[in-house]
Symmetry: C2
Subunit: 319 residues, 2 copies
């Protein structure tokens, strides 16, 4: 991948046309917000652009303006946003795994799968980068674009909580509010709006809480049975992985989720002196230092104890 500057990325987008913007599987607010914002912005300057995600866009983003697909659209250039690795493309989007022209991302762990890349691992969210890109392109940010970018930033920063938030992140948010972003509503939808099923799931999850390694590791589990009993949906799992990490003194918070087909998905959250992506890297996963994920295809107790063993080792080495 050839790393280019923000100016070059802006030039690239101004020069060409017919863009397909790819978003990763299980899309979160940063993927959807970045993809939608870029697509709307490109359309606003007369370019043809569409977004593509292999998984359905969660209903929680229903306040986004609907992007009506271009009829009979034949993309010429493939762009990815917030996509650390092309292996995170699913469904129809995975057909473009080896043909991404331009990657715009904020993951340090970006694997460099694209022809050109603008990757800045110091920026809070891909959406924040999209805002800088649109400013560089001198594209007018309307209310819809502002809402999409704001959604991305607030999702990936836990609503401006994480240490990845810089003065520029807050200044970007200030601009977006002035462009009409409904920040109060978006934050409410993202962080303060729980279904009854989610509340019920949270209670069950708290009942599974266990501590290891002198309380430096906290562990919770989400089983298929709990999902069924609570009536919780996939999107109700948002925020669950931060529960174990929030407990005083905990350095590693582990959430183990039962998936169909005997697979266990782990979400790992770490304190500043521990690298969650290193832990998940042991199992072929990845992510950021503070938050990462991986899957283990083993029976539950084996998957859990392998994960705990790696965490214990990391704590022994580093703390």
């Amino acid at each position: 991948m050839k790393n280019i500057t923000l100016e070059q990325a802006a030039e690239f987008l101004w020069e060409h046309d017919r863009y397909l913007i790819l978003m990763h599987k299980s899309p979160d607010g940063d993927a959807v917000g970045s993809g939608y914002a870029l697509c709307m912005a490109l359309r606003s300057i007369g370019k043809k652009a569409d977004t593509l995600c292999g998984d359905p866009i969660p209903g929680i983003y229903g306040y986004f303006t609907e992007l009506v697909p271009n009829e009979g659209f034949e993309p010429e250039f493939i762009i990815s946003v917030d996509l650390a690795s092309s292996s995170l493309l699913s469904g129809k989007a995975s057909e473009y795994r080896d043909s991404v022209d331009l990657c715009i991302d904020h993951h340090c762990s970006n694997t460099g799968y694209a022809k050109y890349g603008y990757v800045d691992g110091k920026v809070s969210s891909c959406a924040e980068i999209i805002k800088y890109l649109l400013d560089e392109m001198k594209i007018e940010i309307n209310k819809d674009i502002a809402n999409a970018v704001f959604t991305g930033i607030c999702t990936d920063t836990g609503c401006f909580k994480y240490s990845s938030v810089s003065p520029d992140t807050h200044r970007t948010a200030a601009d977006l509010l002035e462009k009409g972003a409904d920040s109060g509503y978006i934050c409410y939808m993202m962080f303060d709006n729980k279904s009854k099923s989610k509340i019920s799931l949270e209670k069950m999850v708290l009942d599974t809480l266990e501590f290891y390694c002198e309380d430096r590791i906290a562990f919770v589990a989400v089983t298929a049975e709990m999902l069924q009993k609570s009536g919780a949906q996939e999107c109700d799992l948002d925020g669950i992985p931060s529960i174990p990490r929030q407990i005083e003194g905990v350095k590693i918070g582990i959430t183990m989720k039962e998936k169909p087909g005997g697979e266990y998905r782990f979400s790992v959250r770490a304190s500043e002196d521990v690298d969650a992506s290193e832990i998940c890297g042991h199992f072929g996963g990845g992510g950021h230092r503070a938050a990462a994920g991986c899957s283990i295809h083993k029976p539950m107790e084996a998957a859990k104890s392998e994960m705990l063993a790696v965490c214990r080792k990391i704590l022994g080495d580093n703390v």
Copy 2:
């Protein structure tokens, strides 16, 4: 109370000396942050200043620089911060109920108890006003002051979540980060750091969850027994009142807390089309539109049903 401009408040503080800064009972991040920031700033320009709160400052603010009291201090001017009513002064601070010279506040419901007042109900937090005041006074904001102001803003905005957050709130936060505010650490301490006792209390609170008025009212209770069983402290109650309001479709979230002496303290959180301060006003309490509180001196079931009756009436009238 004579309402003065920010410029006049700045002049007042530059002109005089020997300030005692009062904070309300059960001090929260905005009270402590505003009081400490103003005290440190006044000291930095050579004024004598102390803070006074009738209740202990919660240990969670332990990262604040300790304000060593002036020896044999005789205050000449009394200032209040974040104090909607002088009835919210407790202990030794209540001796100054009728002698506040300057009140700096952001509560619309401010009762005008002081000689002079600068009250702006549109600003997110009192701490945000303190920042504008210090800028107006051209006082250099150091890291300690930045941490105190940031604590106040993030506490009163639910970490930039509420609709009271303006573009200027984010710009103020950007400035504070540049002055060295440890935003990641502060947000973690305020929002993501729960004691084991708090987690245990939250589980118990969720078990009391009840719905009324076609699920538009959600109710939880915190009893003395729950506090004792979980080992939770007073500060572990922070955030509990937002639990019932967070549930999808809920317009009024009520948290009822048992206090010593047969008193029940209610925290009311409301959606945008309901006024929580109106509800609490029925019982002699007050606060903001989105969040208010009051006490009812009745047996538990009577207190609860009186509160529910008022909420039902408000929903019938307004929704």
